[in-house]
Amino acid sequence: MAKARDIDVAPSEPFRQAAARIVRVRADELADSSDGVLDTRDIERVHDMRVASRRLRAVLEIFAPCFPQSEFKSVLRDVKGLADALGERRDPDVHIAALEDFSKALLPAARPGIARLVEDLRERQGRGNEAVAAALDRARGRGLHERLLALADAAAGVEPRDGQEVPA
């Protein structure tokens, strides 16, 4: 599992400055974890991205009072949507891996039932993958990463950069 980057914090630094720095790091971690996430042969990638989305969501909620509220709510909704889609893929991934291990411990006569259940879960996994693909497209289309960085800038009191127009 990808480890979260350590972020130096100073007890006396303003809450909003810490918010800006931490959200930038977590937003980059989410963006960096999206490569190969739709490959069902490597279930760790979707796991890493899901964990990154959870950490990002958590820091957004921790530092919520530091952000402009309307944009914050819109960004948080999009992060939750992405996290939910990743969960739709991750849940069958985990279940399939556990059942494949479980099956090895069974007498051969009992294995066909588990294989049938795994087949059902493969269908769910496929639907979950479609949900992740759609959520990734949506996040890119709505400029989620850029909006997260803009949110961090707003927390730190940085003026919007030229041309920084993002959908609400």
Partner: protein, 184 residues
């Protein structure tokens, strides 16, 4: 589960002062699920306690360095608790799913056997081996037994683990760490 609102947060105030308020609220939220969650039937309380552990873990992960070495221990405790409660939650999700799967197989076989029996006055047990899922029931039944047993075992581990945290003064030590930090 909706997180309890944290009162008095100040964006221009010091990180540690704000983080202290959040940690206190999240810790209180987590500990508030006991003793209710020590009842194995309280599935919702256990699930909500897992989410409370996750929230405490994440706030400690980013603000822990403000509060000295015990914050790191508390982060590991919150994570350990979250992971164990997550495993129990997986059982709570998979048990009804597996039961529903087994029932679907049984219903499909019953319908197929009835159709095969045709105009017979009674059902010949010999037809059972021709049922479409005849080879699948054993695995489904074994999985249900395994999941029930695993849930029992993990729940016992949870109760023991919480007892150990209490004996080691987890709550009091974390409150002390966030309240008595140096440089106040």
């Amino acid at each position: 589960m909706r997180a309890r609102a944290v009162k008095g947060l100040e964006p221009d105030g010091a990180l540690a002062d704000n983080a202290e308020r959040i940690v206190r609220t999240r810790l209180d939220e987590l500990c508030g699920f006991m003793p209710a969650a020590a009842d194995p039937e309280q599935v919702v309380a256990l699930h909500d306690m897992r989410i409370a552990a996750k929230r405490l873990r994440y706030v400690l992960e980013v603000t822990g360095p403000c509060f000295g070495p015990y914050a790191k221990t508390a982060t590991m405790i919150a994570r350990e608790l979250q992971d164990l409660l997550g495993e129990i939650h997986d059982c709570d999700v998979q048990i009804p799913e597996t039961r529903a799967f087994a029932e679907r197989l049984q219903a499909a076989d019953a319908a197929a056997l009835r159709a095969r029996a045709g105009d017979a006055g009674d059902l010949d047990p010999a037809l059972l081996k021709l049922a479409p899922h005849a080879r699948d029931h054993a695995g489904a039944a074994a999985l249900q037994a395994y999941l029930h047993a695993r849930r029992l075992l993990l729940f016992d581990r949870f109760v023991a683990l919480w007892g150990e945290y209490e004996r080691k003064g987890f709550r009091a030590r974390l409150l002390y760490a966030v309240g008595e930090r140096s440089g106040r």
